[in-house]
């Protein structure tokens, strides 16, 4: 009950302070114009009349994340990689643990509903990752959505169910390394294509530039794939999903695998 007084005071403070600021203040609010840098990015995101400057992707945010500011995304992937490595290093030195007897997990109704919805979650996540260059979506979005399904299976069934199905930590590490290698190869593929032909090219290049006339095709068979953006989205999806699954597998290991020998139970 004593929280109600604090809440009322905070709300009245917000409403009154805003009124005072509006009448008497002169400060920064969102205006009706945006910066000129943003206008360049919006103008050049999909522009078939300026073929040497554009990204050929009608989605401005994905074209900034993977083409205009691609180096930021490379460093962000490195930071994520180091955090996962740190978590794996903290999970070493565990004893062997065996599956206990009896029925594990939650009740039968919850298990049946989870079997349907986990498959649907992975299908929706793959759809979000694949059309990230046309509508809002992309690699991160799809990977984070697809990481919810193993977490559901780990909580509702048990940790042992997932290990019996073959989804172990080593398989997820292999899948994550595959995703990161794919990102690395796609980042330098235009340079590797241009090397035998003697044409000048850049790293992380997508479309032809004014002084380097080689690039990946934007349309294949009438479908728009925007060069390297589609491949980046697929590999990022696998890397993010596998990374999160490793962390969830390590966090649900039962506590009795961490006790040292000679340490008794707490009475």
């Amino acid at each position: 009950m004593r929280h109600i007084l604090g809440i009322i005071i905070i709300l009245l403070f917000i409403i009154g302070f805003s009124l005072v600021l509006t009448i008497a203040g002169n400060y920064i609010l969102p205006s009706q114009e945006i910066r000129s840098l943003a206008k360049y990015y919006l103008y050049l995101a999909y522009n078939p009349w300026h073929r040497n400057f554009t990204v050929m992707s009608p989605e401005a945010v994905t074209s900034i994340v993977w083409d205009f500011r691609g180096l930021d995304t490379v460093f962000e992937t490195a930071v994520f990689y180091l955090a996962i490595i740190g978590s794996i290093a903290l999970g070493r030195g565990i004893l062997k643990y065996s599956k206990p007897e009896g029925e594990l997990g939650l009740s039968l109704i919850v298990k049946t509903v989870t079997k349907i919805s986990a498959v649907m979650i992975i299908a929706v996540a793959a759809s979000i990752a694949l059309h990230g260059h046309l509508t809002p979506g992309g690699g991160f979005q799809g990977g984070a959505t697809a990481a919810v399904a193993p977490l559901l299976i780990l909580i509702i069934f048990s940790h042992y169910y997932l290990l019996e199905k073959g989804v172990t930590k080593d398989l997820m590490l292999f899948l994550r390394s595959l995703g990161l290698t794919g990102i690395g190869i796609v980042a330098i593929i235009v340079y590797l294509i241009a090397l035998p032909q003697g044409i000048h090219a850049y790293v992380l290049q997508n479309q032809p530039k004014p002084d380097s006339s080689i690039g990946l095709p934007a349309y294949i068979n009438g479908q728009l794939i925007s060069g390297t953006l589609w491949f980046f989205n697929i590999f990022e999806f696998f890397a993010v999903m596998a990374g999160f699954t490793i962390v969830f597998l390590l966090i649900t290991i039962p506590e009795r695998a961490f006790k040292k020998e000679g340490e008794g139970e707490k009475q």
Binding site: I7, L11, I14, V148, L151, F244
Partner: protein, 87 residues
């Protein structure tokens, strides 16, 4: 009558006022499971604010991360350690 822009900003302002209530309860609550539930309510209101500010990419990342992954991981942490904050 109100124009369309004013209606949209009114709904956003109401959502941010409710999020202040949710954050206050999340910080001041002693039972940790209820604090996690209030944090999930605050994340849902923030996702609505992001949609009103015309950022659909952020909504697609924020909903699985802040409403699905964060509460689940912190609930696993609570079930392995203590459930109630003392004093």
């Amino acid at each position: 009558m109100l124009t369309y822009e004013e209606i949209m900003l009114l709904v956003t302002a109401l959502a941010s006022l409710f999020s202040v209530i949710a954050v206050y309860y999340a910080i001041m609550e002693k039972n940790l499971v209820r604090a996690v539930v209030f944090s999930a309510i605050q994340s849902t209101l923030y996702a609505f604010i992001y949609y009103m500010l015309m950022a659909p990419d952020i909504v697609l990342v924020y909903i699985p991360v802040a409403v699905g992954l964060y509460p689940a991981v912190i609930l696993i942490l609570i079930s392995k350690t203590e459930k109630v904050e003392k004093q």
